[in-house]
């Protein structure tokens, strides 16, 4: 089964071809873990039965089955081979062949036995890694360079440097010390947040003047792998995954060897719960341990080895998902040289997933059901609990698909007493198919949740699943109401944004439900368990928010492509969405619009009106030629005139009042672009801008609009007025006087004037005219949105000599998308499902739970116990974020204040949602004291408590007698 999980990830990753070898036929036992198989496939060859379904995932990958006995000749055709079910002796032979083959064939061996797993990699005696971490190279903007040995480079202090000692860097655009621009990599020493040294004597170099960018270069790394036989006796350092199990990897190294010996002796795995097999397994382990001279373990943990033996035959779905992810990634590494391979053994276990109560042998017996493997590890009691669980999966994207597959295979919510609710308001787009593997070409345009639910039902027909298309947010609390929440056993997040996660966290906290949270970012993944009263909640600790570029930088002083893209996004929105909306609201009700503008009467209102007026008069487009001409003039305005104005106001040699050069790093001096119809990127800008302009004006787009040579003809005929920079500031008084008067004149007067003009323009429009606002949509490749955005951003980048990006890269940056990859998604969901066993069994202490951070690129696995919730105290009472205080009775505000006073607390501020019900600083709030709390909430906060609910929740800020703030929990007033 592990094979098929890895194969699935490879098909999604898009390697060239995958061949699956298997000589065995499908048994009932296989169904618990292999979602490609159904009961109809029993008795067929396993590999052959899966090929067609794998092929559906990605037509570009050639998938075939090999069903005869495997020989060396077969192997010679491949770049990488993965063995998942092979005895050690055979493995030694194959590995020897691969290791010594020319060129070497990457050999990967992986096994999952119950809650234990192993991976071994041998990529040959000399394997070159091109990119060890997959991160973008770090960069810095230089502020100064010393003439010294070693030379000290300091950088501008708006972003911390991320170089490390030993990194190689190259320099470019350095003025003065131009010797450094030779492109030769130099080694970093003494790396600090804003400076570093290089191994270079610059004493005789030119004197640094200004400018310069330093960029990290990635050095290929050569790894020497040992062959399996050598590595077995001398395994070197194991990759550790869990610091609370520091001693575990050598133990598992022994256990897997013992299992191999047992299988060789008995021709089968140890049976679940069988004492005789456990004894003989322990004996074998002890014998191997005795023989392994210097690596001998002092004692053998009998309990652990028994657990290992008992579950060894079972391939559990979460384990296979996790190892399928790891192995899939290793294969991609072997084929691409991208990311650092696993060196060489990795062992993992999740024994904490076993129930806390003892398991009886008869409870583990198979009953010829598809869950036999899982039952043999966890017992039928837990299986029943899982089948009867009421589960809520939020999101049906990449994570959601994986979860549904896992849950269906595990049998979660697969009895009439259980239910799985999945919700997602998104529909399937083409770009989803590469990782959301339950979707196919023919599902494009359909609701994600529905398609995923149907696919999950095909995997396991007894799944009780309800697919909804509601976004989880405050607006859908009529769908996900109190009764819905109260019935839930567990919530699984499969979301892609922090806001939705925060919302789900808040709801789970409120209804005291376990929340299993996970996320991926490229090859990285993390999981977090939020368990009522045991752990802190998701919102208790969080990452700093994404860095946003300051406005002024985006406005006039961009220094990287991100700034240009941010600017492009905001211009797109202004031109194609906001202004058309504004125009429409004017046209649909001119009187009301005018009234609103008069009431505002400020500079903002004036600017809006000016835009509307331009749109309806000067820049109005009625033919496609108008649109082209508009686009051409926009080009001139954005990339020539504005730059000319800026460099006129701040010439290249401008100095600040302190005398320092104005244009110093990180600022880059811009140069105006000269439009040329021969420049393809100029024409592309004109094309996308005029097409979208036409769309927003409802102008028909002719066939030839997409023909650049025809477009070039039209563009060249457009007359572009020459631009004279405004003598804004230094040609002093007159200009300033007039300038001053124009701004000092009441905005109101200007607004009146504009409104009058608008009335005129409106009369000239065809009756019923409306513009069509365009909302930015990054995922449609044919709508020209990304073309315009990347055109805008790249032309601006060209102004500032910033390296340009292609459309795809622009899309990733503008949409803040890091492409999700199937391997890390599979791993994250596998890890979460291992935790689900604990949640379902219940009674696990917090020490049994694990949060994980992993990066498959390095690779790194770091698991830790969740952090317990913070305990707060006031006098004899203590509480955590999971608690709530309830107040009985329909109290008035005054009575409520008294309730707190009796506890020795002064409630100085009371709120409901984002509305302030009472604050002792506001005199007018005193009038509310005799009113009932519920009534104040209704009047002030417009909060209506639904009929079925008996209470109102309020937030109270209070102080104790010493005027220290006391952070009390949410307060529920039971007024009915």
């Amino acid at each position: 089964m592990l094979t098929f999980f890895a194969a699935k990830n490879l098909a999604l990753a898009g390697v060239k071809s995958v061949t699956i070898h298997d000589v065995k036929n499908v048994e009932m036992w296989d169904l618990s873990g292999n979602f490609f198989l159904s009961e109809d496939d029993i008795g067929k060859n396993r590999a052959a039965a899966c090929v067609a379904k794998l092929q559906e995932l990605n037509n570009a990958v050639l998938i075939s089955a090999l069903t005869e006995e495997l020989t060396m000749e077969h192997l010679s055709k491949f770049q990488a081979v993965v063995f998942t079910d092979i005895g050690l002796d055979k493995a030694y032979e194959f590995d020897y062949y691969c290791h010594n083959h020319q060129p070497p064939i990457s050999f990967i061996k992986s096994e999952v036995c119950g809650l234990f797993g192993s991976v071994f990699c041998d990529f040959g005696p000399k394997f070159t890694v091109l990119d060890v971490d997959g991160e973008d190279p770090h960069t810095g903007i230089i502020a100064s360079i010393s003439n010294d040995n070693p030379a000290l480079i300091s950088c501008v202090d708006d972003e911390r440097l991320e170089f490390q000692d030993g990194d190689l860097v190259v320099f470019s655009e350095v003025h003065g010390m131009t010797e450094l621009n030779d492109g030769k990599p130099r080694k970093v020493k003494n790396a600090r947040p804003f400076s570093f040294s290089i191994e270079e004597d610059t004493s005789n170099f030119g004197i640094y003047v200004k400018g310069g960018i330093v960029t990290q270069v990635k050095e290929p790394k050569v790894l020497c792998f040992k062959a399996l036989r050598d590595a077995m006796t001398d395994p070197g350092e194991f990759l550790l995954s869990d610091f609370s199990k520091f001693e575990r990897p050598p133990v598992l190294h022994l256990a897997f060897q013992a299992l191999d010996k047992f299988k060789k002796d008995h021709g089968r795995c140890p049976a679940a719960g069988c004492e005789e097999d456990a004894q003989s397994f322990l004996k074998i382990a002890a014998a191997i341990n005795e023989a392994s001279a210097d690596r001998k373990l002092d004692t053998i943990d009998e309990k652990l080895f028994r657990q290992f033996a008992s579950g060894s035959r079972a391939v559990l779905n979460p384990m296979a998902a996790m190892f399928g992810g790891i192995v899939g990634q290793e294969v991609v590494k072997a084929c691409s040289g991208k990311f650092h391979p696993l060196n060489q053994f990795f062992y993992f276990d999740s024994v904490e997933s076993l129930p806390t109560y003892p398991l009886e042998p008869q409870d583990l017996k198979p009953s010829n059901s598809r869950y036999d493997a899982q039952v043999s590890v966890f017992g039928s009691k837990l299986q029943k609990k899982m089948e009867e669980a009421n589960t809520f999966v939020v999101g049906s994207g990449a994570l959601g698909c994986e979860f549904l597959k896992n849950l269906a295979l595990m049998g979660v919510s697969c009895s009439s007493k259980g239910k799985l609710t999945i919700t997602d308001d998104d529909i399937i787009e083409k770009s989803n198919l590469s990782r959301q593997f339950l979707f196919r070409d023919w599902n494009i345009g359909q609701a994600k949740s529905t398609v995923a639910a149907t696919a999950a039902n095909a995997i396991n027909p007894s799944l009780y699943i309800d697919a909804l298309q509601n976004r989880a947010c405050p607006d859908t609390e009529n769908v996900f109401h109190d009764t819905f929440w109260e019935g839930l056993d567990v919530v699984i997040n499969a979301l892609d944004n922090v806001n939705a996660r925060m919302y789900m966290d808040m709801r789970c906290l409120y209804f005291q439900k376990p929340l299993l949270e996970s996320g991926t970012l490229g090859a990285k993944c993390n999981t977090q368990m939020v368990i009522p009263h045991l752990t802190e909640n998701y919102g208790a600790s969080r990452d700093p928010p994404e860095k946003q570029a300051p406005m002024c930088t985006v406005h006039s002083f961009p220094h990287n492509i991100d700034h240009c893209l941010t600017w492009a996004r905001s211009e797109f929105e202004g031109l194609l969405e906001k202004t058309p909306n504004e125009v429409n609201s004017f046209l649909s009700n001119p009187a009301q619009y005018a009234a609103a503008m008069r009431k505002a009467g400020d500079a903002q209102a004036r600017e809006l009106l000016e835009r509307v007026s331009e749109c309806l008069n000067k820049d109005r487009c009625s033919t496609f030629d108008d649109c082209i001409s508009w686009a051409r003039l926009k080009f001139e305005d954005y990339f020539s005139n504005r730059v000319k104005q800026l460099t006129f106001t701040f010439p290249e040699d401008a100095a600040t009042s302190m005398g320092a050069p104005f244009w110093s790093a990180p600022k880059r001096f811009p140069r105006a672009l000269q439009f040329s119809a021969a420049d393809q990127s100029h024409l592309n800008f004109i094309m996308s801008a005029s097409i979208l302009r036409a769309e927003s004006f409802g102008v028909a787009i002719p066939e030839w609009a997409k023909n650049t040579s025809k477009l070039a003809d039209v563009v060249q005929k457009i007359i572009v007025p020459t631009f004279e920079p405004k003598q804004g500031v230094n040609i002093v008084t007159d200009e300033k006087a007039s300038n001053l008067s124009s701004t000092s004149v009441d905005d109101v007067a200007v607004i009146e004037d504009l409104l009058a003009k608008l009335q005129e323009y409106a009369k000239r429009l065809p009756p019923g005219f409306q513009m069509k606002p365009i909302q930015f949509e990054k995922d449609d490749d044919t709508n020209f949105h990304m073309d315009l955005i990347s055109g805008l951003a790249n032309m601006r980048a060209r102004n500032y000599s910033i390296p340009e990006v292609d459309k795809l890269k622009a899309k990733f940056i503008a949409g803040r998308i890091i492409p999700a990859i199937a391997t890390s998604t599979a791993m994250a969901t596998g890890l979460v499902c291992l935790e689900l066993y604990k949640v379902m069994a219940g009674e696990h202490p917090v020490e049994d739970y694990r949060n994980t951070f992993a990066n498959l690129a390095l690779p790194l696995f770091s698991m830790a116990e969740p952090v317990p919730p913070k305990v707060m105290k006031h006098k004899e009472t203590s509480w955590t974020v999971w608690d709530r205080w309830s107040v009985q009775g329909n109290l008035t505000l005054a009575e409520l204040l008294q309730w707190f006073a009796d506890k020795g607390l002064t409630a100085y501020s009371i709120s409901c949602g984002t509305s302030l019900l009472y604050n002792n600083m506001f005199a007018r709030h005193k009038d509310r004291l005799p009113k009932k709390v519920v009534d104040v909430a209704r009047e002030v906060g417009k909060v209506d408590v639904p009929e079925y609910r008996r209470h109102l929740d309020i937030g109270v800020a209070c102080e104790d007698e010493d005027e220290n703030d006391v952070d009390i929990p949410l307060v529920s007033v039971y007024f009915r």
């Binding site: 700093p544 860095k547 946003q548 002024c552 002083f557 106001t649 701040f650 600040t656 984002t914 800020a957």
Partner: protein, 142 residues
């Protein structure tokens, strides 16, 4: 430190306790107006501005957005929209800061020491750099 949910309330309280005039809209805590006086010994002395404060959902993890409602001539304030380009507010904000810091320290600092090398109002910045008296005159005219 207290929980984020109560930060809005606490910050608002502290602001009022420091004698700032706060004007609320229907008792909502997401957006309100604060009266701000130009710092003494600055060319903005004597000026009174109405400042709009918007607390984002992620406050205090995300910085409040600050905008001048009535006009102010300043290199780091956008003339049209009144939005402020203030390093501390936009970039180096930390949840440890609160609204009193914004009004007692950050905004007065901005008015006392404009930073013309990172302008949002380019004209004001250029004027300040070239012709200080004219710039000061213009500030007063506003």
């Amino acid at each position: 430190m207290s929980s984020p949910s109560k930060r809005r309330e606490m910050d608002l309280m502290k602001l009022m306790m420091s004698d700032y005039k706060v004007e609320m809209v229907n008792d909502g805590m997401q957006e309100f107006f604060v009266e701000f006086r130009g710092p003494t010994e600055s060319i903005y002395q004597g000026g009174v501005w109405k400042v709009r404060v918007e607390l984002p959902d992620a406050y205090p993890y995300k910085s409040p957005s600050i905008g001048f409602i009535n006009k102010i001539y300043h290199p780091n304030v956008d003339e049209m929209s009144g939005s402020v380009c203030l390093d501390v507010i936009n970039q180096t904000w930390s949840p440890m800061f609160d609204l009193v810091n914004v009004f007692e320290v950050f905004l007065p600092q901005l008015l006392l020491y404009p930073n013309p090398s990172d302008p949002l109002n380019g004209e004001a910045a250029a004027l300040m750099m070239r012709d200080r008296p004219a710039y000061e005159q213009k500030v007063k005219d506003y």
